[in-house]
Symmetry: C2
């Protein structure tokens, strides 16, 4: 199997009625990750290819109790239609947490509850992107965002991501060449690279973007997963009128409940509400009420510290094994948090060859190419540490080291 064929440009199956579908569909890469995951459904395979939070860290008991309370106390209401914006006390919880964690002033009416943070990206595409509009994003960039925005047919402008954030002079160049509707990035523990922007880089970018009319779309799926519990500034602090933040309960509460949120200045929020109404009326109200009830009765900080500790341990173990066993020519990132390590193989070693050979050894990794909207990255790999036990990390990395050593031989 060569998953390469299934991504940029995507395979189309419109034979027979070729003009039936809108042109946007041909521009949207089918999820390479989901295709890969199909290969790795075999339970004997040790998979570092996916992006799943650890199910062992979900507080099932606490959520079950909150669910029972909500259904017993207010069943007819929580199962009825609700508001497009989302449950106000949950939005207030989010606003309060921004204040507490980051010192940010965000009002509950600048927050809307979504079906996971992926929906934020769809709503942002709907509201902002006219076909042919220019959009800047990190290189490598998050595949979910590439997919979501592609449906609105922008022209993408990649900005190289360094270890401390996007390249400022590339960002300036891109802004000088075309008006960019927004810059999309994941400043904290980026997917796929694990990079966290430095505070200086955030400031510098904010200065470059200030007054340009170009928004920052700050995807903050992993902000709460910084291993040290520290937080850098949100762009909302520097550019409150030019920033949209996307957030998620998937990594700290439970991903199957599909709860995310979007933060936007009021005039943008007004458009987002219209787009959300048209898209699906409102987010799952039962889940919103369960989350709110759960958060009211849980020490969420302690729960998040537990997740941070577990992921730190898994990440450090993986890094240690990589340092010990991989050829020294393989470079890897040292994430401050999140769920991913990013590998750069020696020139001439193909990550697709590594993928194919690793699957034979019953280990799955994710080749980095789909994260490069302009091609390239053929010697990069993303590996996930959040969803593996120590034993699987030890065994899987050992096998992967063997594969890479074999392929790196001159």
């Amino acid at each position: 199997m060569n998953p390469h064929n299934q991504t940029v440009p995507p395979a189309r199956s419109t034979a027979g009625r070729g003009d039936l579908f809108a042109s946007r569909m041909a521009k949207t890469p089918k999820s390479f990750i989901r295709e890969i995951l199909k290969v790795t459904e075999d339970p004997r395979i040790i998979s570092f290819a996916g992006g799943l939070p650890s199910p062992a860290l979900i507080d099932v008991e606490g959520i079950a109790q909150a669910t029972a309370r909500v259904l017993a106390a207010d069943g007819r209401v929580v199962l009825q239609y609700s508001t497009t914006e989302g449950y106000l006390p949950l939005r207030q919880f989010i606003a309060d947490r921004y204040k507490k964690r980051l010192g940010l002033s965000v009002s509950s009416d600048e927050i809307l509850i979504t079906n996971g943070s992926q929906q934020c990206l769809d709503l942002i595409g709907k509201v902002f992107i006219e076909k042919g509009d220019h959009v800047a994003m990190e290189r490598p960039g998050y595949l979910g965002a590439i997919q979501a925005f592609s449906l609105y047919e922008p022209v993408f402008h990649p900005v190289l991501l360094h270890e401390d954030g996007p390249d400022p002079s590339q960002l300036k160049d891109v802004l000088a060449k075309h008006h960019q509707k927004f810059f999309y990035g994941v400043p904290n523990s980026q997917n796929p690279s694990g990079v966290t922007y430095s505070e200086e880089r955030r400031k510098e970018m904010a200065e470059i973007l200030s007054g340009t009319g170009t928004f920052v779309v700050e995807d903050d799926a992993y902000g709460e997963l910084n291993f040290s519990g520290t937080s850098r500034s949100s762009f909302w602090k520097y550019l409150p009128d030019q920033t949209v933040i996307t957030g998620s309960f998937s990594k700290i509460l439970a991903q199957g409940m599909r709860l995310g949120w979007i933060v936007a200045p009021r005039d943008v929020m007004e458009q987002i509400v219209i787009a959300k109404q048209a898209s699906d009326l409102h987010s799952n109200y039962l889940s919103q009420r369960i989350a709110c009830e759960y958060l009211a009765h849980t020490d969420i900080d302690a729960h998040i510290r537990k997740i941070q500790g577990a992921y730190r341990h898994q990440c450090e173990l993986m890094q240690q094994l990589i340092a010990e066993q991989f050829p020294p020519t393989v470079k890897f990132t040292r994430p401050e948090g999140g769920m991913f390590i990013w590998l750069t193989l020696p020139d001439g070693v193909s990550s697709m060859d590594v993928f194919d050979a690793a699957v034979k050894e019953q280990v799955a990794v994710l080749p980095g190419t789909p994260f490069f909207i302009d091609g390239g990255g053929s010697n990069t790999l993303r590996i996930n540490f959040s969803n593996s036990t120590d034993d699987k990390i030890r065994e899987g990395i050992t096998r992967l080291a063997r594969v890479i050593r074999n392929l790196s031989k001159p």
Copy 2:
């Protein structure tokens, strides 16, 4: 307040940064219904304006028990990420029910689970509509569909809806003038009119559409709510390669869980899966599992018969009072099911005037104008019978009769 100003064309609040938003946003009417509902939030108001199923008919206890079982037995799985297509046993339940109810052959891999049926309309817009494409729909047409499709900037072509379905010669004319991507309709107990297409009209339409390449988007939110429990044929029976069906658990199970589904031929489904992935990865998995568990342990036919019986009673009571108290010049539909009666006032009587006067009498109704994409309908009203007690129906219709009598005086 004049809700008229807030609909077609919609008020925009982009003053100051006018070119920030994509042009599609200006084309999407903000939900007139939601604006009206804000007026009617006052609990003293008797509202026939909304479109809510009766919360009294939700089996809260049964759902709570199913929820507890699912979380106890499989908590870590039901709170983890899941597949884009949706939970297979739930899709199989839906396929089996089509077989049983309608004799339709639908396979589970032609079904995808959505966040309520509104999301089906968004996905259909994404997959089919290129800006400027032609789309035919009923006149009056469902506002939620107008909103969803508007985001993809089609040219709408209304086809007059008679008591037995859309006008066939208008449909032919519309098809002759432009290639229509699809015809959108609600063949069973339409929203807003309450009309159900006759079997003959379905056949005739299918003959007209066969081989044209124009799809039928059959929105079947109310098919299970036929008071007599009988069902007419789906267009899928006549045009299996040219039909997309949207369905919903909102009216038979619980609307706050946001569970709908879309049925499409395989080549269309392949595109819908890509669009769904990009839009929000997958639907709420906890809710899918709860629904499936509930359906496995419930006599859903008995539950639906209970809903049918209650709505029939409420509808008949409302019709009886209308016949007794409204001026004979007011025409009203005799729905076979669903949740709405449609009123046509005598020429020269404005439904906006009725709305304003009725609010003063603490009754809310929905003026029909936003359902007419090409203008008109200013003497039409939609009233909802599903979400009112007998007492409220008696009192509310009596007050409304007084308002209409006063405004109908020469």
